[in-house]
Amino acid sequence: MQPTPNTRSTEPSTKPAAALPGLSHLKAAGPLIALVLLCIAGAFLNPDFATVDNLMNVLTRTAFIGIIAVGMTFVIVSGGIDLSVGSMAALIAGAMIVAMNALVAGAGAPGAATVICAGIALALACGAVFGIAHGLLITRGRIEAFIVTLGSLGIFRAVLTWLSDGGALTLDFNLAEAYSPVYYQSVLGVPIPVWVFALVAIGGTVILNRTAYGQHVQAIGSNEQVARYAAIRVDRAKVVTYLLLGVCVAIATILYVPRLGSATPTTGILWELEAIAAVVVGGTSLRGGSGRVMGTVVGAILLSVIGNILNLTSIISVHLNPAVQGVVIIAVAYLQRGRR
């Protein structure tokens, strides 16, 4: 039952709301419009761009970064950041390969399918553990997310380099053969990584927008104090954002390993830049509080379409692709500034 005051306010009602609703819709559609324009430009610049093969190829390559970026959306919306995702992916890939090779090498080795399942389980467990560790250090340890994940960025990459002795960790040939369909196979004409990307994106959208947890994440990013006073378990919710991101990194890695069947000290380099860029380009404020998973998906595709066009047209060197991403992230942040 709700209490009711029986008197009415004599206060005058407030004047019109600050922003027009149409304008915010336009802002939300911005990345999508940019993507469409970019695709039209790509089709003009190179006829190969608009082929189904090329577009599927772009989407498949987007899947890694896109899946990580979905997890990153939760972290950034809650007001956090994770710089370690590239190194984390590399270490998880390395750990998977080492573990699966060891399982195959042992006497009475189990079948390839069992080994691959074990590898996948290990990857998910690693992602979850790394994520929870980040979350606990940030919440219980009260260390800035930036510092925690900057530290673990170094740790993850160093451990992988140590595991691989500075070279490459390569998956057993037979295993690689058995595992490769996970990356190369298509279902209903759509590659498996794209299906997984779609599922992760839909799952992320539902969690962020349609569950109490998702609302809590947004509330924490909008104003952590207010959320704490409103009986929200702030620390737990924040730990879970890093857990979700860790699991997303693991899923991306599970799709990545069968592509090359190896992990090297350069695996996953600059993925954090791409993932954070995708989130920001997708309209999520780096200050936290609001964001859309679908915006992130569009942002990730946008970035890889840029890369793809550079690849196909040789306007500038492919080596400058990260520079283009860097420019895009700064430009978008510039456009977002002062929105609050």
Binding site: P5, T14, A18, R210, T211, Q225, A227, A231
Partner: protein
């Protein structure tokens, strides 16, 4: 040299909310002017405009016959207008001398001339009567000393108009007396002092004239000698105070205790606090800023550590470690800091309203329609005035934000509700609505705790008032003892030396 200042139809809008509706009056030089008004009357905003911190949306500010448009506080400072903030504007890590010269550093040959600055700082400190080494870090000073540093800083910049916003809010009686002596001295030197407060006794004793503002408008000005406290209070509120409050419903003799706190100890704030609130009762909490009222309840909620203390809700011991535990036990707390702790200003009204009960409403997906229905209901029940139900909480006026916050904290249907400064920054109409709501909450059998700095409000609402002073429970005053004099005497611990 003194400045004369005239406000001509000053208007100020914050986004869609108009907080000043055309204010006209003049300040004559060399006087102590008391600026009176309730929270939200617009006094602070007007003074921020005078000191260059805010720009008016309309109207003119005339200083010595010349219209001025200050781009920032520095412009105002150059004319000799300085504002001493409620929250001080000092860099805590720097020394007193560094703060005094911040932005105006003295240099010799391109390097800082520390010796000259220390010398001049020492003379400014002597002027305000602060016996401290200019090389002391500001973080080592107590509140009253910081305030003197602020004044010294203003004087070092040849301030001729000194605006003091609630300067005595966190001072002890002795410190307050010294401050007023300083104000009298400065007035003797031709400095105009605008003194903002709602402590009527101080207004009566220390000002030459009072200017009253209400709801963003100039209401009245009078020589202090010509008005008494009662008249000032009525001018502030705009009507006879008695009409604001409904008669209190007596608490039944056998009403059960809903909240009992025993031996509460909060490191740095509360030594030993015990009290109880019964069903149907409104228990007020009075005390000066820093007395530990808010801190006591934050500790009860688990928002800050408590070293000792037993909490019982409805007769059962409650182990509360977080606001969530408290909510599960039927206790919610609405913070005094609406913008920083009470509402998500950037989120929508529905999101704010349902924030505490989302998990209850989700099965497992959120039912957005149910949220909309709840919002429509709350808008009706609490009399929230708005144009667009889809707007962000930020675009509501203070009173409507507070009603939304009340609706939010009542949604879990608490048996015990703690309201910290429930009418801070709301207009008179909303205030009366909130008083009626508090009355009704008690009548429904809830236990209500009201923490307030407005004595009139505590007296009008509460069955009993607990008075804290320096972290100690000074007294619990019963209905017959509830007078302003009594409350102030206990809150300042001067009950035996009444003047």
């Amino acid at each position: 040299m003194s400045l004369s200042i005239r406000f001509q139809h000053i208007v100020k809008d914050f986004g869609p909310v108009r907080v000043l509706h055309g204010v006209d009056f003049a300040l004559e030089p060399g006087r102590v002017v008391g600026l009176l008004g309730e929270n939200g009357a617009g006094k602070s905003t007007l003074m921020k405009i005078l000191a260059g911190y805010e720009r008016p949306s309309g109207g003119q500010l005339v200083v010595d016959g010349v219209e001025r448009r200050f781009a920032n506080a520095r412009d105002a400072e150059q004319l000799g207008i300085a504002l001493i903030h409620q929250e001080f504007n000092l860099a805590e890590h720097l020394t007193i001398a560094q703060n005094i010269f911040l932005g105006h550093e003295k240099t010799r040959g391109g390097l800082l001339d520390r010796r000259a600055m220390a010398r001049e700082a020492a003379s400014c400190l002597a002027q305000v009567g602060l016996e401290r080494d200019p090389d002391t870090r500001v973080s080592e000073l107590i509140v009253a000393e910081k305030q003197l540093v602020e004044i010294a800083k203003a004087l070092s910049r040849q301030a001729r108009v000194l605006i003091m916003d609630e300067p005595t809010a966190s001072l002890s009686p002795g410190e307050t007396r010294k401050l007023f002596e300083l104000m009298a001295r400065l007035k003797g030197q031709g400095v105009t002092i605008v003194y903002i407060s709602h402590k009527l006794d101080e207004m009566e004793a220390h000002t030459d004239e009072v200017v009253v503002m209400r709801d963003g408008k100039f209401v009245a000005r009078a020589a202090t000698a010509d008005v008494d406290r009662h008249q000032m209070a009525n001018l502030m509120v705009g009507r006879e105070l008695s009409s604001m409050f409904q008669p209190k419903t007596a608490v039944a003799a056998d009403a059960p205790v809903r909240l009992r706190v025993e031996g509460l100890q909060v490191p740095g704030w509360i030594g030993d606090l015990g009290f109880e609130v019964r069903a149907g009762e409104v228990l007020g909490f009075a005390g000066l800023v820093g007395a530990g009222r808010t801190e006591a309840f934050e500790a009860i909620l688990g928002l800050r550590p408590r070293s000792r203390g037993r909490i019982e809700i409805d007769g059962k011991p409650a182990d509360i470690r977080s606001p969530r535990d408290a909510m599960r036990h039927g206790l919610t707390y609405l913070s005094e800091d609406r913008k920083g702790k009470g509402l998500h200003l950037d989120l929508g009204l529905r999101d704010n309203l349902t924030m505490m009960t989302l998990e209850r409403d989700a099965r497992p997906w959120l039912d957005l329609k149910a949220g909309e229905r709840a919002l429509r209901q709350a808008i009706d029940d609490f009399g929230i005035r708005l144009r667009d139900p889809n707007c962000a909480a930020r675009s509501l006026s203070g009173g409507n934000q507070q009603k939304l916050a009340l609706a939010k904290y009542l949604r879990p249907d608490p048996g015990v509700i703690v309201l910290d400064e429930p009418t801070r920054g709301v207009d008179v109409g909303a205030k009366r609505d909130i008083y009626a709501l508090i009355h009704r909450l008690a009548a429904e059998g809830r236990a209500v705790v009201v923490i307030s700095s407005e004595l009139i409000e505590l007296i009008g609402l509460s069955h009993r008032v607990a008075v804290l002073h320096g972290g100690r429970l000074q007294a619990v005053l019963e209905a017959g003892q509830l007078t302003e004099e009594n409350l102030i005497a206990h809150a300042t611990d001067t009950q035996y030396t009444k003047h």
